[in-house]
């Protein structure tokens, strides 16, 4: 038979152990696991994501991967992306965005834009300190704020970036090979044509 | 002079209680009036004790203490009766509680 009231004492012991343990636990490994946020930053896991950004290679003007194809704009479920195609001096559209805005107060971080982008241009960022007083001034990100280099992308998401780079490299190699093959083919054709011409045209000296 | 003043105050309190008990038709107000009258009585006990020839005998004080104890019992039973009456008649108007049979 348990002594009446012994359960209360057991419970008190548990809280007392917690109380004393929280002072002894210098390493904060088991108790006091709360992060002291502004002083202690969380170490983000690699897959953490917040809002999209635009990747460029090398130069932010020329190296921009986006071609303003507007697939992401159409696919975006909360419709937070707004794109206007750029035009050259003659008014002819060129494959580059003139305006690329993302309203991150609307964005829900679904990553669909990343899934659908055929140019590996839009990727997810992991910034999280974006609170601001004015949502239209500061929370609508423009092209200048969205553009971040591929180096940055490799830093925040190394595995993904490596895969992307490999894909781009493979595509480039494939393209180069195709071009080479085409060139070879063209050269071969040219040579063949030349040979044929040579065949049909008798050797003037012969 | 002070004794008479205290007695007059007590008389006024008593008459307020009487007024409440006589004019209000709500049983609880009648009870409130009775409590006031008892309080006036206690005040008289204390006043007479203070100005008595032998205050160290504590006669008035003892009376007041017993009277307070009795008033508490009276209030408890009275309110229990009022609640029972309300349960029967759905009303605490003393004009309606005119039957001896439940």
């Amino acid at each position: 038979m348990n002594l009446p009231g012994s359960g209360i004492l057991k419970g008190m012991a548990v809280t007392a152990v917690n109380f004393i343990g929280s002072f002894l636990d210098r390493a904060h490994a088991k108790r006091l696991i709360t992060e002291q946020y502004p002083e202690e930053r969380p170490t983000l896991v690699e897959t953490s994501r917040s809002f999209p950004f635009l990747v460029f290679d090398g130069d932010p003007e020329k190296g921009i991967r986006c071609t303003a194809c507007k697939i992401c704009e159409k696919e975006c479920p909360p419709q937070c992306i707004f794109i206007v195609k750029d035009k050259d001096a003659n008014g002819k559209p060129i494959l580059r965005p003139q305006i690329f805005d993302i309203d991150i107060s609307v964005c829900m971080g679904c990553q669909i834009c990343v899934e659908v982008c055929p140019f590996e241009s839009i990727r997810m960022d992991n910034i999280y300190e974006v609170s601001a007083y004015d949502r239209f001034e500061t929370l609508v990100l423009h092209k200048e704020q969205l553009l971040k280099s591929n180096v940055y992308y490799r830093q925040i998401h190394p595995t993904e970036a490596a895969q992307t780079d490999a894909r781009i490299e493979a595509a480039r190699v494939k393209k180069a090979a195709a071009a080479k093959a085409a060139a070879e083919k063209a050269a071969a054709a040219k040579a063949a044509a030349a040979a044929k011409a040579a065949e049909t045209q008798p050797e003037p000296t012969a | 002079m002070m004794l008479q003043l205290l007695l007059a105050i007590s008389a006024v309190l008593f008459c307020f209680g009487l007024l409440a008990a006589l004019t209000r038709s709500n049983a609880i107000m009648v009870l409130i009036g009775i409590e006031m009258m008892l309080g006036a009585g206690n005040l008289n006990f204390i006043a007479f004790w203070k100005f008595s020839a032998h205050p160290e005998l504590l006669t008035g004080v003892m009376f007041a203490i017993f009277s307070i104890a009795l008033a508490a019992a009276e209030a408890a039973v009275g309110l229990a009766i009022i609640i029972q009456v309300h349960r029967r008649l759905r009303s605490v108007n003393i004009n309606q509680a005119d039957q001896l049979k439940g």
Partner: protein
């Protein structure tokens, strides 16, 4: 150390001398002849005022410290840090809380009874601030020496119930009324064992005066065990009962169901905000300190030192150390025990605390007349022990535990 012991009284005397000197100087300067009764009257008024200011200042500081210490201790017991942002280790948190409370809008519901709604916080805080007046804080340091001090304490404690009712009823909110009704039911139920256990201490000490009760606990048995009432079987039980009653009277966990957030929003405080809410909050804490101070006075030897060789520490330090210990234990209990259900709370008061307090009363009387020796000890331990085990076994042990419970449809 004699200097420290006398420090509060010496400060008071210094202030009185200062007032006396200043007044005399002013009168000679202005050429006013004071009648003979004027100076003593003035000094009496000033000494009353000094004591009032000192009490309120001490209790406000304790309230401020408690409000941050409680949160920090509670946090540590739940493996958190608690407030540590405002100031050094969060020590300025009460200031931040105060500023927040005072700058909040003071809302009065449209359907509320405005006058009663306004008067309720006043009716709450006035008795709470009057409670500490009879507690002896040190040797010769009792603000008001009353021959019926204990009775005074409980008479004023009754005012709290009234204030809670006023707050609940005037808010015109069903949660407020329900919370107020629960609070009053709880306070009335737990006032009985509370008063009964206080009566036990008064009975053995033979006086209702708090100073007399403390003096009755002076001295040491066997040379080192203090003669506090808590170290006797009946005193231990009465102390525990008083402690539980104090928890219930000050609406603290596990008896905080009048303001149980999950059921009643905030009970009778639902419609209060800003300064009025702060006043309720303050009154609750001051009431808690006061009732803990009474517990120290009644059972824990008041301002007496626990061992003979520690008597060089000033008596008022001992009082406040014991008070701090009790306040800590209340936080500890809060961190440990979940909230009662309303029927459990009533059952506990009427089926356990009241019989136990009667048992402790009988045990105290037996101990008193059996000569306070080992025999008295045994007898009184038996008288409180048997009802405890019996009540605990028959009323408060769940005989349907997980082992023998049968689930009809899940097997």
């Amino acid at each position: 150390m004699h200097f420290l012991e006398n420090l509060p009284l010496a400060t008071k005397k210094f202030i009185l001398d200062l007032v006396k000197g200043a007044c005399g100087w002013l009168c000679t300067k202005l050429g006013i002849a004071l009648p003979p009764w004027a100076m003593p009257l003035l000094l009496t008024l000033v000494s009353i005022l000094v004591v009032i200011v000192a009490i309120i200042a001490v209790y406000m500081v304790m309230f401020a410290l408690m409000s941050v210490a409680e949160r920090k201790i509670l946090a540590r017991m739940q493996n958190r840090y608690g407030p540590n942002r405002a100031g050094w280790f969060g020590i300025l948190q009460p200031v931040a809380d105060g500023i927040k409370m005072l700058t909040k809008e003071d809302l009065v519901p449209r359907g509320a009874d405005k006058i009663v709604h306004f008067l309720a916080p006043i009716a709450m805080v006035a008795p709470a601030l009057m409670l500490p007046a009879i507690i002896p804080y040190g040797t010769g340091m009792v603000p008001v020496e009353l021959s019926a001090g204990i009775l005074y304490f409980f008479a004023l404690g009754a005012g709290t119930e009234l204030a809670v009712f006023m707050a609940g009823w005037s808010s015109n909110n069903k949660y407020s009324v329900m919370g107020a009704m629960r609070a009053i039911a709880q306070m009335i139920s737990y006032e009985l064992p509370l008063v009964m256990s206080a009566v036990i201490a008064a009975l053995v000490a033979g006086t209702l005066s708090p100073t007399g009760i403390v003096e009755a606990q002076g001295g040491y048995s066997l040379g080192f065990i203090p003669n506090w009432f808590v170290f006797t079987p009946w005193g231990f039980v009465a102390c525990l009962l008083f402690y539980i009653g104090a928890l219930a009277e000050s609406n603290r966990c596990p008896f905080d169901l009048p303001e149980g957030e999950s059921e009643l929003v905030a009970g009778h405080l639902t419609e209060y905000s800003g300064f009025k809410y702060a006043i309720f909050f303050m009154a609750e804490y001051v009431g808690m300190f006061a009732i803990n101070g009474l517990l120290v006075t009644l059972f824990l030897g008041g301002y007496k030192a626990p061992c003979p060789f520690l008597e060089w520490i000033p008596s008022w330090c001992w009082f406040f150390a014991k008070l701090a210990l009790l306040a800590f234990s209340m936080v500890w209990v809060r961190a440990t025990l979940p909230r009662f259900r309303i029927d459990q709370m009533m059952q506990f008061a009427w089926k356990f605390m009241l019989p136990m307090s009667f048992a402790a009363l009988i045990a105290a009387a037996v101990w008193y007349y059996a000569g306070r020796g080992p025999l008295a000890w045994g007898l009184s331990a038996l008288i409180v022990g048997i009802p405890y085990l019996a009540l605990g076994h028959f009323c408060f042990t769940r005989h349907h535990t997980a082992d023998n419970r049968r689930y009809l449809y899940s097997e």
